[in-house]
């Protein structure tokens, strides 16, 4: 089957394309043109449309125990719960597994990464991913508050043993990469420590957060896991301390790649009479000056949402700000976590400044290859807010209208009004397609070059970027038409992308003995057998190039 997408504005920065042209799809892959003169089986007139590769979201909480607890905690935000669905922002949040796939696809997203999978709940995460239609998925597995790793570091074990452990966890949990979340902080919180910084030591172990991050960074790098260690820093959200924590952690990269998650939540100073100010410029300058690091933003948008985090300490500390006032805090073998509803209000000084800090970071970080598009769904906003974020980045007049609606006190505390930068289509394609594929090590997607999988999104070009990116004109997944005019027309299943990192078999035996002796549980509880997920073909193994 040869499909010809004719005469669209092709935006494909990897291949140097930014102009009117054609794209061809043959049997699920992109080809440069018809072979031996055969006519296309299907031609789509893409005149007036922007043609890009399918978008990739590197950090969106779409599956697993904590996400599901958020669903349990907030039934009132599901559309079927209320007679007034349009009045409740989360009613559009893609709250079920099925809606998650359908709504992402309708916006032209074809790959989404669940960034916080606990090893002990990996099967649960994958059971949910198995129900998400259309898009490809992947996960990052969480390490850095687990007794096994902390004990290894304390006991001075060598890098070979550490690497074997990380490789074993990545492969058994069917992950694509590794994340660390408030490294050591959750473990310390179980000992009733309520504040924890980069050079603080975890009681019981005498190991600092810095040592944990550096140990994991080294292992990920040595193992050749393409995605750099994904870091959620200490002291998220705390004015003054958060920015300091992000700054000192970024400076610890020391030439080796590190990815920093949702840095908006760390862009907080303690200046001004409300002791809450923007450190957006400071963090952006560090990012600009540190080429080995990448960041995603975690943009806040206004409305009701819920924060879902494996940072148990931070979520516990934030309980007073929960709205509505209820929360779930979990303590588990490693990170645990917490679920807190939050209502970001435009008229609220703090929330307005959070919104502005996110945009400052987007606009002040110069290299679109190193800054990623996220709302940290659902923590800053549901992913369904993305079209509005595209509009804010691409159109300074839209930004100005939003700024004018903010409290004056907040506007005074942000440089946002003076920032005239507008993201180009090419920069959007880098940030949401090309750069994520590179960051995740997915050579088969993110651009429209010959031989890549035919994940393609077509948008009707227009001045209203919210409308344009909110509802794709056509979306192809692996060459199959899945969305037409913003409506899903086919619900085929995508797959979950995994990395089969090989470890010394001795590590599996050691972990068997460890879980049995220390916790009294079998290590098979941490495994995700493909045949347990109810799908014929659940995984696509990404080549591991060590």
């Amino acid at each position: 089957m040869l499909t010809h997408l004719r005469g669209g504005h092709v935006v494909d920065p990897v291949n140097g394309r930014d102009g009117v042209g054609d794209v061809y799809i043959l049997d699920g892959l992109i080809v440069s043109g018809p072979q031996d003169g055969r006519p296309a089986d299907e031609t789509i007139d893409a005149t007036g449309m922007v043609v890009m590769a399918g978008a990739i979201d590197i950090h969106s909480h779409i599956a697993g125990g904590h996400v599901n607890t958020a669903r349990l905690l907030l039934p009132e935000y599901h559309k079927a719960f209320t007679a007034r669905p349009d009045k409740t922002p989360l009613s559009k949040a893609g709250w079920t597994t099925e809606e998650t796939g359908l709504l992402y696809a309708a916006m032209g997203f074809t790959t989404v990464v669940e960034p916080a999978m606990a090893p002990s709940a990996a099967l649960h995460a994958h059971l949910e991913l198995a129900d998400i239609p259309i898009i490809d998925k992947a996960t990052l597995v969480i390490l850095g508050n687990d007794d096994f790793l902390l004990s290894m570091i304390r006991d001075g074990e060598g890098s070979q043993a550490i690497d074997d452990y990380v490789a074993q966890v990545v492969s058994t949990s069917r992950a694509l990469g590794v994340k660390t979340i408030n490294a050591g902080g959750s473990a310390a919180f179980k000992d009733n420590v309520r504040a924890f910084s980069f050079d603080d030591e975890v009681p019981d172990y005498g190991v600092s957060s810095r040592r944990i991050v550096k140990t994991l960074q080294g292992a990920v790098s040595r193992l050749g896991i393409a995605h750099p260690l994904h870091v959620h820093c200490n002291n998220l959200g705390i004015p003054g301390t958060s920015a300091e924590s992000a700054a000192v952690t970024m400076q610890s990269a020391e030439g080796v790649p590190l990815h920093f998650a949702h840095i908006q939540f760390y862009g907080y100073g303690s200046g001004g009479k409300r002791a809450f100010s923007s450190e957006g410029t400071r963090l952006a300058e560090i990012v600009n000056a540190t080429p080995e690091i990448t960041v995603d933003i975690g943009q806040v948008m206004f409305g009701q949402t819920v924060t879902v985090s494996s940072d148990a300490m931070r979520q516990f500390g934030g309980r007073a700000g929960a709205s509505p006032k209820k929360s779930v805090i979990q303590d588990a073998e490693a990170n645990g976590g917490g679920i807190l509803p939050i209502d970001y209000k435009r008229a609220n000084y703090y929330n307005a400044l959070q919104w502005a800090i996110g945009l400052e970071l987007f606009l002040l970080i110069e290299d679109p290859w190193r800054v990623f598009f996220t709302t940290d769904h659902p923590n800053g906003a549901p992913f369904t807010a993305y079209p509005d974020v595209f509009a804010l980045l691409m159109d300074r007049n839209v930004r100005q209208r939003w700024i004018e609606a903010l409290p004056k006190a907040a506007v005074k505390m942000t440089r946002l009004s003076e920032l005239t930068r507008e993201y180009t289509l090419s920069e959007i394609a880098i940030m949401t397609r090309a750069a994520p594929a590179k960051l995740l090590g997915l050579a088969d997607r993110g651009h429209l070059g010959e031989g890549t999988i035919a994940d393609v999104s077509l948008y009707r070009d227009g001045a209203d970027k919210t409308a344009m990116f909110g509802s794709a004109a056509y979306v192809f997944k692996d060459g199959h038409l899945v969305v037409k005019d913003g409506d899903v027309v086919s619900r085929r299943m995508g797959r979950t992308l995994t990395l089969d990192t090989k470890a010394d078999p001795a590590m599996a035996r050691r972990l068997d003995a460890y879980y049995d002796e220390k916790y009294g549980i079998p290590s098979r509880w941490f495994e995700v057998p493909g045949d347990a997920l109810g799908l014929a073909d659940p995984f696509k193994v990404v080549p591991w190039q060590r």
């Binding site: 597994t97 009733n192 073998e333």
Partner: protein
């Protein structure tokens, strides 16, 4: 009524097709079975609920109204130094859980603030009952089952330094329990919702929250047998809600009272019951006089079923995925009886859905 499976499947599909409001319940089955039951409910415009949801909902209502602290048993086994077991039902609901919880060595966390060793308080245990305390000091505190909420209110008041009167337990006893828990390095409160009413669960969760003001504490909340919590988890990710969902309008509508399966049977608002009873930890649902399609793993099929299917039990006759209270997550289980040719609940439910789909297509044509 034994019947060749394909005939039984057609008969079941015909019953569902003629039903105004079928209730798909029991749901004592593995993850695949729960997903298949949800799909059948959606296809048939029916209601889906768990056979044990009256117990389950005591925990769910508290969780979603005021929140909870929850812990994994494996971490508590290594870390907790004070345990409060609430009510008589924990050993029945999770027979091996307490033996597991107390069965290891505490090697994580600070010493208790009072320097005393690990301690278990069992509030309202059955007279003469014992716990597998594995040498940990055990204080049984007698308390009538219906007075547990009152006793926990007293403990909370003592913890908060508020005045309270003698009630179901002595004031001094309440004060000692509060003191014992507050000196914990990490306190763990375990209850089964089968022992408590909704206010009792809220009180227990509130006690845990109060303890976290001074030290660390969390809870293990059991929701009764029959995989009720696991079914609720799967239903939540699939439909947005923890069961008690009706698909009469095509999409999932949640009404914790309106779609309570036992209430629908009692009131006769549903006119057909599909009972999935494929785990040993839950008895079949009593369909009263309503027509019944029974999908059962029990040796004795229920009397009076219009159609009955004998199926295997996951973890005994076939492999599957189940929520485990031990793991506080989902785990895989094997079929230990070896190769079994018994059908699975999941397979039967999907076959019925397929037959129902073709019945509907024929009628439309």
């Amino acid at each position: 009524m034994p019947a060749p499976e394909s005939e039984a499947v057609s008969a079941a599909a015909n019953l569902i097709a003629s039903s105004r409001q079928p209730l798909i319940t029991g749901l004592a089955t593995d993850v695949a079975g729960v997903k298949a039951a949800l799909a059948l409910a959606k296809l048939s415009g029916g209601v889906v609920d768990h056979g044990n949801s009256d117990v389950l909902y005591r925990n769910i209502e508290t969780l979603r109204q005021s929140g909870m602290f929850v812990a994994s048993p494996a971490e508590m086994r290594r870390r907790a130094d004070r345990f409060l077991i609430v009510g008589p039902n924990v050993p029945d609901d999770a027979p091996d859980l307490l033996g597991f919880l107390f069965g290891g060595t505490r090697d994580l966390g600070r010493p208790s603030a009072d320097g005393e060793p690990r301690r278990i308080v069992w509030l309202g245990g059955a007279a003469g009952a014992t716990l597998p305390s594995n040498g940990i000091a055990l204080d049984p505190v007698p308390c009538d089952a219906e007075a547990l909420t009152d006793a926990m209110g007293m403990i909370r008041a003592a913890l908060g330094g508020r005045r309270f009167r003698a009630g179901s337990i002595a004031t001094e006893t309440a004060a000692v329990i509060a003191e014992t828990l507050s000196k914990a390095s990490f306190a763990c409160i375990v209850w089964s919702a089968a022992s408590l009413d909704a206010i009792g669960v809220e009180m227990a969760a509130g006690l845990v929250a109060d303890l976290n003001a001074v030290t660390r504490a969390s809870s293990i909340a059991l929701s009764g047998g029959g995989h009720a919590w696991g079914a609720a988890q799967i239903a939540t990710s699939v439909s947005g809600f923890p069961l008690r969902v009706g698909y009469g309008r095509g999409e999932a509508v949640h009404d914790a009272w309106g779609y309570d399966g036992k209430r629908l049977i009692a009131s006769g608002e549903c006119d057909l019951v599909v009972d999935v009873s494929a785990l040993e930890t839950l008895a079949p649902v009593d369909a009263r006089r309503l027509p019944l399609i029974a999908i059962t793993g029990h040796d004795e099929p229920p009397g009076g079923a219009k159609v009955a299917f004998q199926v295997g039990i996951p973890g005994r006759d076939h492999a599957g995925v189940l929520y485990s209270d031990h793991a506080a997550s989902f785990i895989t289980v094997d079929g230990v009886r070896g190769a079994s040719d018994m059908p699975t609940a999941d397979g039967i439910l999907r076959a019925i859905a397929e037959a129902l789909g073709s019945t509907a297509a024929k009628r439309a044509a």
